[in-house]
Symmetry: D2
Subunit: 165 residues, 4 copies
């Protein structure tokens, strides 16, 4: 059934990249999407939305985006439940991203310190081919991702083919 979510927002923390036992990359993230209106107290508010993305796009997200980065997300809304530490069922609603567009590169962001390695994706030698044979149409969605390493303060869309992996 029709199920489509499109968001533009800022990462509220660095993406959390992990690998399944089978070596498939998956990144969890949370973005703040500012509301177009102020609340009763005249404060601007935001919605804080959880998302998940898989495979190469997960790795790209973790490698190029960090807390504060602006991204566009095109995906589906999914729900799941799990048992909380207190034994109660917890209900989760999150966006499973089909594609993520980088609207602002790390290097175009101001408070660039880089002495802290906030990137939580270090040293998995098998990243490059953790997803062999990923040559179907879904790949194209992956190419939504753009990035920009030049720091000229401007988002650029580049193809997956141009990314360094």
């Amino acid at each position: 059934m029709l199920n489509r979510v499109i968001l533009v927002g800022r990462l509220t923390r660095d993406p959390d990249l992990r690998y399944t036992p089978n070596g498939v990359a998956v990144a969890n993230f949370n973005i703040a999407v500012n509301r177009p209106f102020t609340d009763a107290n005249g404060e601007r508010t935001a919605d804080f939305i959880n998302g998940v993305v898989w495979r190469r796009q997960a790795e790209n997200l973790a490698n190029y985006m960090k807390k504060g980065s602006l991204i566009g997300v095109d995906g589906r809304l999914q729900t799941r439940t799990y048992e909380g530490q207190d034994g109660k069922t917890v209900y989760v609603t999150e966006v499973v991203a089909d594609s993520i567009q980088f609207l602002e590169s790390k290097s175009s962001q101001s408070n660039q310190s880089n002495h802290t390695q906030s990137n939580n994706n270090q040293g998995y030698g098998n990243q490059g081919n953790s997803n062999p044979g990923f040559d179907n149409q879904e790949q194209y969605a992956g190419a939504y991702e753009g990035t920009n390493m030049g720091g000229q303060g401007e988002p650029i869309d580049i193809s997956d083919d141009d990314l360094p992996f």
Copy 2:
């Protein structure tokens, strides 16, 4: 910021219509949106998504749709928190509908009993004018709503103006 959700799904229960202290109608609902694929066990699964809709559309939803009805939803994704009965913070993600399209009328549904009044919207004398001066553009979104009282088993889109209130 861009925040858009579009869903087609079936109500998992009758819509829950209430009124704010100021007399503004608001309906909560939950829809099952079938996933386009089967899970690991070959089972078709669904996402169960909560939604909210306001004013006239809330009343229309409660009046014309019920558990099992198929609807289309166009809205925004919002998050909020509240304190659970155990004092813990509960996180809620739900769709705030800008417009709802009725894709199947009550009368076109099969197990039509109608001896049970499952409709939980009875006898609020102020419904009709609970939203005076609602004559702005947002009204047009309201007109997304279609309904169909003839029971010919076919969705019809009609304007708010054609609805009996």
Copy 3:
């Protein structure tokens, strides 16, 4: 870049199914999407939007939907130009469907004559396997398609696996 279109509308004519020289199925269609408001003369109007869909979904669309059928479309907006018969450039904007949801089956529609074969998809012996090895993720999108051969006047979502090809 983000590019997403979601529509619900009725086919203004039977889908036009063709095959590329390589045997890939492609269906062109046009849907009327009713506007949520009336025009200056109080008339309800519609937008008439062209769409294209590929492969198995093209065949399903042609096989199960016809003029008047209600469908949901999730896709991308694309533009192209061609040279008209008068030598002038013609600009085309159309939706390339990633997935199509059948919201009303042929059999649930009223003026069912069936003595005319309005279906323009006849006798291509190779349909069934015109797309061998179509077993990637894009397939799941295909499973958005539902159909309903029972004629009980109600849309049903079934998996591609349940379709007779």
Copy 4:
């Protein structure tokens, strides 16, 4: 009926701001939306999509965005026809924007000359109140618009209330 389009792209020319005889602002624009894949020749291609936006957002678009600016668009797909100079009917498909998000301000763009007044919105004394009483919910959509006059090369979302008109 459901009709939703979401795009992120760059203006291919300066927005064209005009006023109706009644003094209502309307801006036409065209954006290039890069496709996520390369064509048969390995070239990256784009779709060139026409859009329209009304009232305050039209004025904001013309005042703050120019050729090359990156914007997000949330709207509806509409079609219309007109008679061409050769007497033939021309079919137009365009996006009517409900809201536009500024993802890059003029000042954050590099080739900033500003000695040419590319802004085609000059001196209409009635702009400020061309839309009296525009204080309904649709206004909030207007607040999607962000801009950024500081030139720090970073998109900012601000409320309509913060805009200098």
